[in-house]
Symmetry: C2
Subunit: 331 residues, 2 copies
């Protein structure tokens, strides 16, 4: 019983930062993301009675211990409970981009794992069920099943069964939307988002101000998507990211994901915008800066970003497609 | 009637950001600063019946128009009202450090101007009266008369007569305290603090969270000064600055004073602290980073900061002395 799934990464335009329930991973606020073509995780799950425990091969390395393995084992217990297939699995997973550096590798990773692990267990879950399950591995993974533009609804139920992602618009709705990833450093980030999040909720005096302002951002981004209003989408996303980072830097102890090159990109985006090359940045729990723009400006903007000192690489991503099963061998 | 005054700059450890009355310059919160030896403004004011209007020579340049001249003329009207000397003045002012780049040149500038202009008018005001008057030129100037560690009490009166600075501790109380100025750029900043401040109050959803948290910072810094508790002083000052910058970056439009080298200094300070070289940064409305430390670590830390790319110059400052009249020629 073996299946391989592929899921694209996603980058939030309205961020998820803070959990009301950290066991079930239920967020304080809804979030909206763009699924990214080109940054994906491919994961194969194989169950067998001969396996005595779950094993994990990540980007070609067999992980014999450590937090990643523990997280995955714990998550596989949830999958076994859901599928009623009580076997251990061999899991092999590959990212085609740097892991754990603020490029949402846990989003595509847990989405692909959830899809492959349930399929290999011969359970055909729909995207709603997959989203609810993947969410419990990594919150942002709930958004990596649908293609296009996606909203993870926070929900209100205590069991979390109304906290899952839905598609706001398919890929075809806005096919000239682009996100330019500027890779600042491939080093793994120091503070994992999970730890950072709970510290922020507990200690930042600005967290409440952030949370109170998110509902308006969600409304603005929903409207911007509906009307394909790029300026509204970009301006709202950029300020939303700045607000999230404002809560991060005021966490005790302070979490500063910005690196010198990150700040250089931010200023360059502002300078280009003043010159009429309209782009808006967003940042997650890592030093990378992602710049939202339209196709007509993408190459120009990319060229400017690539010239900045400390930028190792730039990637222009289109709006990405939904997650899929790319191989299965169930008997 | 001519007098020359010299006032040191000061850097806030608990920041002033936001005015409840922008005409009288009354702040929403009290602030605490360290007066800096070595960064000063020297200002000569000469009244004469032959002058038809106020003239301003700033760092050797005769300013014939522009916002600086208008600000100074408006301020001289306040001085004339206060002193009852209704003459125009020739004002010559020199900073021994870069102007308008987040090194508090308006603090030392308006303090020196206030002191020289009242003295030349043959009025001997005490520091309380000078502080109240200078405050109406630039808020932070109210703190540049006293030496040592200084608190600008926000006051509650509508006329502002209880909003002035007092000394918390003299220079001798903590003579091994140091502040290392890392100069990132000598270019004038793009957003003047005055405009930035009112935009933040009006538009940052995080401003209230900042304001609600300042009272505790003030108490902690007062206690830290009293007990010479350097760790408490530094940690509180660093987080207070981060909170202020968090409100700045979330202002509409965003105000990002951080430059690549600023961020590099911040990370270096954190790295050095982990290695036992205890320093804490603070930043104002410009790209410069100021690092608070004790004398025993100052040279070591300075060496590390000076090696950072984009740092043009470092200056180690002691706690500075009070403002003084250095020349007078009243008849």
């Amino acid at each position: 019983m073996k299946a391989t799934a592929q899921a694209n990464s996603n980058i939030a335009l309205v961020k998820y930062w803070g959990k009301r329930n950290s066991e079930l991973i239920l967020p304080y606020n809804s979030s909206i993301s763009m699924t990214l073509e080109g940054l994906h995780t491919t994961t194969t799950v194989e169950y067998s009675e001969k396996y005595k425990s779950d094993s994990l091969i990540m980007n070609g390395t067999h992980l014999k211990a450590g937090p990643e393995l523990e997280e995955v084992k714990k998550f596989m217990d949830l999958v076994r409970e859901k599928t009623n297939v009580h076997l251990h699995a061999k899991i092999a997973t590959e990212n085609n981009f740097p892991t754990a550096a603020g490029l949402a590798s846990s989003a595509s990773g847990f989405a692909a794992l959830t899809f492959a692990a349930t399929k290999a267990a011969m359970r055909d879950l729909d995207f709603k069920e997959l989203s609810i399950l993947a969410r419990q591995g990594s919150g942002s993974a709930s958004r990596s099943f649908h293609g296009g533009l996606v909203e993870w609804k926070k929900g209100s139920r205590e069991d979390g069964n109304d906290s899952f992602a839905e598609q706001l618009a398919p890929v075809s709705h806005w096919d000239n939307l682009r996100m330019i990833i500027s890779i600042v450093s491939t080093k793994a980030k120091k503070v994992k988002s999970r730890a950072g999040m709970s510290q922020t909720v507990a200690t930042s005096p600005l967290y409440k101000g952030w949370l109170d302002s998110v509902e308006k951002d969600l409304n603005d981004v929903r409207a911007a998507i509906k009307e394909r209003n790029f300026s509204l989408l970009g301006a709202t996303a950029e300020m939303n990211a700045l607000k999230m980072h404002a809560t991060m830097i005021t966490t005790q102890p302070s979490i500063i994901y910005w690196q010198p090159a990150s700040v250089a990109v931010m200023h360059e985006v502002h300078a280009l915008r003043e010159e009429g090359l309209e782009g808006y940045f967003t940042m997650d729990a890592g030093p990378q800066v992602k710049v939202l723009c339209l196709e007509k400006n993408a190459k120009h903007i990319e060229k400017h970003l690539a010239a900045i000192e400390g930028i190792e690489k730039t990637i222009v991503c289109r709006v990405g497609d939904k997650a899929k099963i790319i191989n299965e061998d169930l008997f």
